[in-house]
């Protein structure tokens, strides 16, 4: 029997606000434990939350970018449960009235574009972290770091529209691209600022009713998500094939052992006793506020992709990479202001620039060459001032030297020789030295011209204009 996979994803993305959602503490990642806390996020007796309005703005940005209905009158709710890293004994979240509903995200699949529905996006506060570190305490003890407590989160719940781990990957990639474009989250899965849980079930192809689902947690990278989903899908299909039932359960992915294990029953049988948060007044998104958020939205990835295709006439492959992040696309456009061979810019960005970013593990924002300097370099190639191979040396030099392109060419002595009489001298010398090759050419082995060009380049220390060298050689050999 053939089985169909049904996946719904729940993503928690940490927001890049300066301060926490209900107090003034910093949200910076990686500080000493319990240094970014105050009585409010510590849940001291007598404290009250005050909403950071930036969180509402960030939620609206994502809601608009994912075609959601936006709720204008927003309330918070308390989700009650006991855990040591939850100081108040409840999490302030949204329950019956999420800020965004009924949206979608468009992904690319093997069968073309597909819309994955979004059931809801809501605002909530993060909890702290429980740390088990036997360097400090015994194995029976737990350390609590409350720095993360009160960091704003958006929870994004997809409809069960995803049909394969591949689609799940595409959905997460798209969502992460969106939060980064919108500058609301760094989308970093490994650091935990972009977290994903999955609901998975399988059913025989053609069956309308959903199968029994399991919930999969603790997938801390894109690779884990793929592996964990594959694992759980196979497990469920095998159960069904052997006439067994899937048990509704919450599973924890173990990336070391590559397996998912059920959580203990006690940890999942929660009745969260949601009720409206009485310490916060409803927050109303009036028209001026809503419009100001809407008008400040950046160009979104799909739009930018289409525009790059038509405006710069680039291949879809190049465009997809260049528009993957806003910063990369912006860099391209900055270069394109000064240099109009767009395909050449793209080649360099996908080639030398990308390689450098990879090697130095930096982002385009930290890339040492300004768009203007890269444009000058490309102009120098285009204007036959330097050869492409010389340009790569200049590029390397520019990475670690604060000089202009002209100065670098000068310093490296790579200025291309385009003076026909000088090139002719090199050509003549080579033709007289390599008589065997000349004879071979004349006998029809025209491929040997490559060797002769190489000899001229060697003689000119790489500075001769290769186009001129090759056409002059050809002219003389065929004369």
């Amino acid at each position: 029997m053939e089985y169909e996979v049904v996946i719904g994803l729940e993503v928690h993305t940490q927001l890049l606000t300066e301060s926490k959602i209900f107090c003034g503490c910093s949200t910076k990642f990686g500080s000493e434990p319990n240094t970014q806390t105050c009585p409010v996020c510590l849940g001291m007796p007598g404290v009250l939350p005050v909403l950071n309005r930036k969180v509402v703005e960030f939620a609206v940005r994502l809601g608009l970018a994912t075609h959601c209905q936006i709720r204008r009158n927003n309330r918070f709710a308390r989700k009650n449960y006991f855990y040591p890293d939850l100081p108040k004994g409840y999490q302030i979240s949204q329950f019956e009235e999420p800020i965004c509903e009924n949206g979608y995200v468009e992904i690319e699949t093997e069968n073309g574009k597909k819309r994955v529905g979004l059931i809801r996006i809501h605002m909530e506060e993060d909890a702290g972290k429980s740390v088990h570190d036997e360097a400090y305490v015994g194995s029976e003890e737990t350390l609590i770091d409350l720095n993360r407590c009160g960091v704003p989160l958006l929870e994004i719940v997809s409809a069960p529209d995803i049909r394969s781990p591949h689609e799940a990957h595409a959905y997460l990639t798209k969502l992460r691209q969106l939060v980064r474009y919108l500058e609301i989250s760094d989308g970093n899965m490994e650091e935990g600022s972009f977290r994903c849980d999955a609901n998975i079930s399988v059913r025989p192809v053609g069956q309308a009713a959903l199968g029994t689902r399991t919930e999969l947690k603790n997938m801390n990278s894109f690779a884990h998500v793929q592996k964990a989903l594959d694992y759980e899908i196979n497990r469920q299909i095998n159960l069904l094939k052997n006439g067994k039932q899937v048990e509704q359960n919450t599973l924890l992915w173990d990336p070391q052992k590559n397996e998912a294990r059920p959580m203990r029953g006690k940890e999942e049988s929660h009745d969260y006793r949601y009720f409206p948060e009485p310490d916060l007044v409803p927050v109303f998104l009036d028209a001026p506020w809503f419009d100001s958020i809407k008008n400040a939205l950046p160009e979104l990835p799909d739009k930018k992709f289409e525009r790059f295709l038509s405006q710069y006439n680039l291949p879809a492959y190049d465009t997809a990479i260049l528009t993957e992040s806003r910063d990369l696309a912006d860099y391209f456009e900055q270069v394109a202001k000064h240099f109009t061979d767009y395909k050449m810019i793209s080649n360099w960005m996908l080639g030398e620039v990308a390689r450098t970013l990879n090697e130095q593990k930096i982002t385009i924002n930290e890339f040492p060459l300004t768009p203007q300097r890269l444009a000058s370099l490309l102009k120098a190639i285009d204007g036959n001032v330097i050869s492409t191979s010389a340009a790569k040396k200049v590029f390397e030099y520019l990475l670690s030297n604060e000089v202009s392109v002209d100065e670098a060419i000068e310093k490296l002595g790579l200025k291309q020789i385009s003076d026909e009489s000088r090139i002719e001298a090199y050509v003549d010398q080579v033709l007289s030295e390599f008589t065997n090759e000349v004879q071979a050419y004349k006998n029809g082995k025209t491929k040997v011209i490559g060797f002769l060009v190489g000899q001229v380049m060697r003689l000119s220390k790489g500075k001769a204009n290769p186009q001129m060298v090759s056409s002059l050689l050809r002219k003389k050999l065929e004369a």
């Binding site: 009585p39 007598g46 939350p49 009650n80 006991f82 006793r273 310490d279």
Partner: protein
């Protein structure tokens, strides 16, 4: 001034009269304390109360019961009993208490004081240890309406730390003291004068009302039929919120922690079983129950709907009346231990006061006399939201 021990003063203990916070020292000042400090108020101490403000007699305390200075065999009322007594015996000029369902007005009545519960949102709750967030409000005890007005003027106003505090401007409340009451329209809701009211209190209040009439106020009897649901509504909403507000006392970060627990859940269970008193546990259990899956709609949600009806009914009465006058309590101070084992009877002590908290309006106890046992009692004045001036105006009249 004396301060109820559920209001934070920086670097001092805030115990809420509970074992679970017995050693807790607050790292910050409540907003009301900041304001009083700025006005050069001297604090003489923190006062005893019912644990976490849950009670109507100030007997639910790890420090023992508060006694009534008019008869030490009797309760001072609660939950702000300690603050009431501190003022009644002249230990201080005034005191802060807190209200959730009558915790200032009732002890004020039992000790012959002015006790004001301001409109919800009039005074910042930042630094007040939460019992039921949508009902809690800080208020004051004083010997006169003028003193109470001055204190409210000092502590009222919007606070950036409390989103539920109101932006409404704060008037000079004390200016209304001595203002003529001629032309004021006063309503007497018949449900508040029905069965169960001590006849001596009834006649004392009616005497006071006749004085008003003599001075030209217009008195009318009317009906508030939703009142009979007030106690039930109150004890569902208050306990639901309390079950969540008190979840933070888990022994993890501060306060009492049971020592001999084997694992996390046992630590929670033992800490909370040993750290909380009976009444607090009763209310946490009740509140947990009414919020539970399957019961939420029948209890909590229904109570919120009834609360709306009660509020609407009172607000429409205020279309007709400037103020409503009722008894504050059905009886004078009862004997220590008399009701402590009978929570339902104890809950009924709040029957006249909880409506003001549910509706979010302001109300005050004004002392009107003593009964034949020389025990004081007062009457309750209720006024529309943010019309505290009317309370002080009428209170000052009765004092005269």
């Amino acid at each position: 001034m004396a301060i109820k021990d559920n209001i934070n003063i920086k670097d001092h203990k805030t115990t809420c009269a509970s074992k679970i916070l017995e050693s807790f020292i607050s790292p910050f000042d409540a907003t009301v304390i900041e304001k009083l400090k700025a006005a050069d108020v001297i604090f003489i101490g923190k006062t005893n109360m019912d644990e976490f403000a849950m009670g109507s007699s100030s007997e639910n305390s790890i420090f023992g019961a508060v006694k009534n200075p008019y008869d030490p065999e009797r309760v001072a009322g609660g939950s702000s009993g300690g603050s009431a007594v501190a003022v009644a015996i002249g230990a201080c000029d005034a005191a802060l208490g807190s209200e959730t369902g009558g915790s200032i007005r009732q002890p004020a009545s039992f000790t012959g004081l002015v006790g004001v519960k301001p409109t919800y949102g009039r005074v910042s709750r930042y630094g007040l240890v939460a019992y039921a967030s949508s009902l809690d409000q800080i208020g004051a005890f004083a010997k006169t309406s003028e003193d109470a007005a001055l204190i409210l003027k000092t502590i009222a106003g919007h606070d950036v730390h409390d989103s539920t505090s109101a932006a409404e401007p704060v008037p000079d409340y004390d200016r209304v003291v001595g203002k003529e009451i001629k032309g004021l329209k006063i309503g007497l809701p018949e449900e508040y004068f029905a069965e169960g009211l001590d006849p001596e209190i009834r006649s004392g209040i009616m005497n006071a009302v006749r004085q008003l009439e003599k001075e030209g106020a217009k008195i009318e009897t009317f009906s508030l039929p939703q009142t009979r649901y007030a106690i039930a509504t109150y004890y569902i909403i208050a306990t639901a919120e309390a079950s969540s507000n008190l979840a933070r006392y888990d022994g993890v970060r501060y306060g009492y922690r049971a020592q001999d627990a084997g694992d996390l859940n046992e630590m929670y269970e033992k800490t909370r079983s040993e750290g909380f008193g009976e009444e607090v546990k009763r209310r946490i259990l009740l509140g947990t129950y009414v919020l539970s899956a399957g019961y939420y709609d029948a209890y909590y949600k229904k109570a919120m709907q009834v609360r709306r009806l009660i509020k609407d009914e009172l607000n429409s009465a205020f279309q007709k009346y400037d103020a409503i006058i009722t008894p504050t309590t059905p009886t004078t101070a009862f004997r220590l231990g008399e009701k402590i084992d009978d929570p339902l009877t104890m809950y009924l002590m709040d029957i006249y006061t909880v409506t003001a908290n549910l509706a979010g309006i302001c109300a005050m106890n004004a002392p009107v006399g003593k009964n034949s046992d020389r025990l004081p009692f007062g009457l309750q004045i209720m006024a529309p939201a943010f019309k505290e001036e009317c309370l002080f105006q009428l209170g000052a009249f009765f004092e005269k």
